[in-house]
């Protein structure tokens, strides 16, 4: 059984996009950036073993799904491996598995990532499959119907996992009608309506050379990478690079609680937060330091007060998630039913104190020391360095963002950090999602301070939160 620290570290990895001073700077600089026929390529060589990891990223994601067509980007991307060129679905999968390669397709709000790997000796055959999938997907009606049914089953299965269920409801409640609030997978209502014509249309718009970034990590040099990109991705059709919509999001006012009512729970999942930063925000680095102190490590305030002193939750962490346009600030824990309301009260109080009183010099020095010393683990392997480079690219950050990360952390000051806390964190205006059994929580919920609204949504029903008035 592992302590949950790795989750916080993972979040930091996602958000921090670092790189540094010696000795890790030498590793950071091993990311090679070049273009091949207009396609940006990121390469990290590691010749220790005959293995190559590939990541093909398209600047296109679910934020482009038109209203009523939620899930279109994801369905289109997943269809790529359901038959391409001369291969039907079974033939494609058999060919892929024969190489021993793994392939995953992940659709985010702003990107579609196709990640896989191959032994170096099989790389050409592997890339041929990926290339065929990208250039010649069949989009056969029968396979579309199968993929829809599979995604529908996956959506329904979301309700089996309380943490994932809570995260999903939190996202929807936080962003409401903003496109970021829509599930990437689509909904049980939108999926059946998606047509082959819509899929083909989206494919033509999104899967163009102008949206492509190709990344390699492993036993491959620049010359070979150049040749392979030209051969296998150079023939993707040209089009127009995606322009993402930038609608404004409405920040929540007051404290809104949504209980995702699930029977017979002995434990709750609590998510608390509000809208967050754009990646390029000047508040990013001060908030990184502050978040480390509040809930970013195992010695942070949240876990010390909630887990270590009181034993109320196995984990208690906070996350500073940034996006190209908008992000979220979130903290969460998972107490037993009896401890849910006390833990929530304490969590809110800690958040208020963080903003009101800020950090002291000792805490700031500790956080900077932690970030500086642990930084090596973010660039330890070739695949980690590639992932960081691609995130920088997708977030629209400058190339030297990684190289100057520690320098900019180091430059943050107590005054600047505490100013950021008062500017970007809003303890009075929060979205709070609790997955739990409503009947056990109801008597205490209204006693929480500053609550303006309490909503309830059955865990196995569609998104339709209702006021708890009975």
């Amino acid at each position: 059984m592992m302590r949950p620290l790795h989750r916080a570290l993972f979040a930091l990895l996602l958000l921090a996009l670092p790189l540094v001073a010696l000795p890790t700077s030498a590793l950071a600089e091993t990311v090679e950036r070049f273009d091949v026929d207009g396609i940006p390529v990121r390469l990290v060589q590691n010749r220790d073993f005959d293995y190559v990891a590939l990541t093909v990223v398209l600047r296109s994601g679910s934020i482009l799904d038109p209203p009523g067509q939620e899930g279109l980007a994801n369905l289109t991307a997943q269809m790529l491996r359901r038959g391409a060129g001369k291969m039907d679905q079974a033939g494609f999968e058999d060919a892929l598995d024969f190489l021993g390669s793994r392939l995953t397709i992940n659709v985010g709000q702003y990107s579609t990532s196709i990640s896989g790997d191959s032994l170096g000796r099989n790389l050409e055959r592997f890339l041929e499959l990926v290339s065929t999938m990208l250039r010649e997907p069949r989009f056969a009606e029968a396979q579309i119907a199968k993929q829809k049914r599979l995604i529908q089953a996956q959506i329904e299965a979301l309700r089996e996992n309380d943490a994932r269920l809570g995260a999903s409801f939190f996202q929807r409640l936080l962003f409401r009608k903003h496109p970021l609030g829509r599930p990437t997978t689509g909904t049980l209502d939108s999926l059946p309506k998606l047509s082959a014509a819509q899929i083909r249309g989206y494919y033509r718009r999104a899967f163009v050379k102008e949206n492509l970034i190709v990344g390699f990590a492993g036993n491959i040099d620049r010359k070979r990478a150049t040749k392979l990109v030209r051969t296998y991705f150079g023939h993707l059709p040209s089009g127009t690079r995606t322009r993402f919509p930038t609608p404004r999001a409405k920040a929540p006012t007051g404290r809104t609680i949504l209980v995702v009512d699930k029977p017979k729970r002995t434990q709750t999942q609590v998510f608390i937060g509000h809208l967050g930063l754009q990646a390029a925000s000047r508040h990013f680095f001060p908030l990184e330091v502050a978040n480390t102190v509040f809930g970013g490590t195992f010695t942070a305030r949240l876990i010390q007060e909630i887990r270590e002193k009181r034993g109320w939750s196995y984990g208690a962490y906070s996350y500073n998630s940034v996006g190209p346009e908008l992000g979220s600030y979130l903290f969460r824990f998972y107490p037993a039913n009896k401890d849910c309301i006390p833990a929530l009260k304490l969590g809110l109080q800690l958040f208020e104190t963080l903003v009101e009183k800020g950090l002291d010099d000792k805490e700031i020095a500790f956080a900077k020391s932690y970030i500086r010393n642990s930084f090596a683990f973010r660039v330890e392997t070739a695949q980690k360095r590639l992932a960081e480079a691609l995130r920088v690219e997708l977030l629209g950050l400058p190339d030297d963002f990684l190289g100057r990360y520690l320098e900019r952390i180091q430059k943050t000051t107590r005054a600047g950090i505490n100013h950021t806390l008062k500017t970007v964190l809003h303890p009075k205006d929060l979205v709070i999602v609790i997955v739990g059994t409503y009947a056990t929580l109801e008597p205490q919920l209204s006693k929480l301070p500053g609550v303006s609204r309490i909503l309830v949504n059955r865990y196995d029903r569609r998104w339709n939160p209702k006021d708890n008035a009975r």
């Binding site: 302590r3 010749r47 196995d460």
Partner: protein, 491 residues
């Protein structure tokens, strides 16, 4: 350990082996350390009291650039060192030969609860100081307990060897346990149990699978412990557990990364050399009787659709047939073209996912098969189809293409997640602690390559006897209503 962690372990199982197999043929930036180990031992032992002397146990020279060495100090502490200088980091892990199988009925969960307590106070460090010092120095720390072992791990930036050796040696001998810490940590662990088992259908199904398979053997109880036992554990139990199992002669320290072997041995000699060996109780072997008929259980859980978990008793990690079962599993569940995956998910659409996992334990474990069904699927239909396929693979050899495909998949799976010093150290520690020799790990690739089509048929026939089958079925609490969209309905 939950299913997710098991899959992670599987994904990285033997990951370093392929690195070691292939590295010799490629240029590498890693500088070779060609120190003569006997001279190294002589240098370290010079002027050292008898109790703190070290000896070379073995050396596994994979190639000129990568050498793994095992040493043992006079007090019984084993140390495995592998230098790799690809990044300025290193992993330091302490593996204890105690897991949940060493517990007693009525006190299940104590190995894991104690793992939590070891992050608390020592005679030299106040409560919480261990984590503070580690984090200030950039360490990533954690620990894990499973059936056969407990291990504590730190990934650190270069140059922190002295620090981590001092702190780990301190908590091996100087723990201060009190009622306040036990009370708080007991609640944390109960919450962990709620998270991983009581409120997680997969955790519950897994727990019941093991309890139904192993009626006598301690593998049958959960590592996290039964809730009533967690409440029953006393401070005296914890102190006794510490004094019994946490000693140098029951531990292996594994150090991998940007370190010098001599510095490692000197740091460990300085910090652990004076510790005295303890008498470790001889393990009472419990032999699980062979089942005489199939066992099954049905649970009603918060599921959207039925799930089936089928378990068959599978060979121990050190068993000569383990590799053949791994190949068998690839043929059935590998990728999206594995036989059962293709049949149930792609062709018949009866399931949304299938997964197979072969245990790698000290003793006989379970070959787990997980089937997440579509909501309209009758579990009996899937049971019948699976039984038919298992019968087929037990009676007819797999094709040559299937064998090659499985070998390829297993070979590449060994490289995934590689690179990280923590992963390498975990493999060395896992094999050393589970089968008694880290070098077994290096034989994994050759064992996969040696598996024949007939081997796969033979192990399938042996494993898949109906009387050895355990079937756990999870059904939704209430029959799910059709979720087809309503015309004009809300999202």
């Amino acid at each position: 350990m939950n299913r997710e962690l098991r899959m992670l372990l599987l994904a990285t199982l033997g990951s370093f082996a392929i690195y070691l197999v292939t590295v010799a043929a490629l240029p590498t930036a890693t500088a070779a350390r060609r120190t003569d180990p006997r001279r190294l031992v002589r240098d370290v032992n010079r002027g050292t009291p008898e109790l703190a002397k070290v000896e070379l146990v073995n050396e596994h020279r994979v190639n000129a650039n990568f050498v793994v060495r095992k040493f043992r100090f006079s007090n019984g502490l084993a140390v495995i060192v592998a230098e790799t200088h690809r990044a300025p980091v290193f992993a330091y892990q302490t593996w204890f030969r105690v897991g949940s199988r060493h517990e007693k009925k009525g006190r299940t969960g104590i190995a894991h609860l104690f793992e939590h307590l070891l992050f608390k106070e020592t005679k030299n460090l106040k409560d919480g100081e261990f984590d503070k010092i580690m984090e200030r120095n950039g360490a990533v720390t954690n620990a894990a307990t499973w059936l056969d072992w407990t291990f504590y791990r730190e990934n650190l930036p270069k140059g922190k060897l002295e620090l981590v050796a001092r702190l780990e040696a301190d908590r091996m001998q100087n723990m201060v346990l009190n009622a306040r810490q036990l009370k708080s940590e007991r609640e944390v662990v109960k919450n962990e149990r709620r998270l991983r088992v009581d409120n997680d259908p997969d955790g519950k199904l897994s727990e019941v699978l093991y309890a139904t398979t192993f009626l006598r053997h301690p593998y049958g109880w959960p590592t996290v412990g039964w809730m009533a036992d967690l409440d029953a554990i006393t401070l005296e139990d914890c102190i006794r557990f510490y004094r019994t199992y946490y000693s140098p002669n029951n531990a292996t320290v594994v150090v991998v990364g940007d370190v010098e072997s001599e510095a490692v041995l000197k740091a460990i000699r300085l910090r652990y050399g004076h510790l005295k060996r303890q008498s470790i109780p001889k393990e009472k072997r419990v032999v699980e009787p062979q089942p005489t008929k199939e066992r099954s259980r049905t649970l009603h859980l918060a599921l959207s659709a039925p799930k089936i978990v089928i378990g068959y008793r599978s060979p121990a990690l050190g068993d000569k047939d383990h590799a053949a079962v791994m190949v068998l599993n690839e043929v059935l569940f590998g990728g999206k073209s594995g036989r059962l995956q293709k049949l149930l998910v792609q062709d018949r659409e009866l399931a949304r996912s299938t997964q197979g996992w072969v245990a790698g334990f000290r003793f006989e474990g379970i070959y787990e098969m997980w089937f997440e069904l579509k909501k309209s699927t009758d579990p009996k239909t899937v049971e019948t189809l699976v039984a038919r396929e298992l019968q087929r693979i037990s009676s007819q050899p797999i094709s040559a293409r299937e064998l090659q495909k499985a070998r390829n998949a297993l070979e590449i799976s060994l490289t995934r997640g590689l690179g990280s010093v923590g992963t390498i150290a975990r493999q060395l520690g896992h094999f050393e602690t589970t089968v008694g020799d880290y070098r077994t790990f290096f034989r994994v690739v050759s064992r996969y390559r040696a598996v024949t089509r007939e081997d796969v048929r033979r192990v399938a026939k042996k494993l898949f006897e109906p009387r050895r089958r355990v079937v756990i079925t999870g059904l939704p609490l209430v029959a799910p209503k059709p979720m087809a969209p309503r015309p004009g309905g809300k999202r």
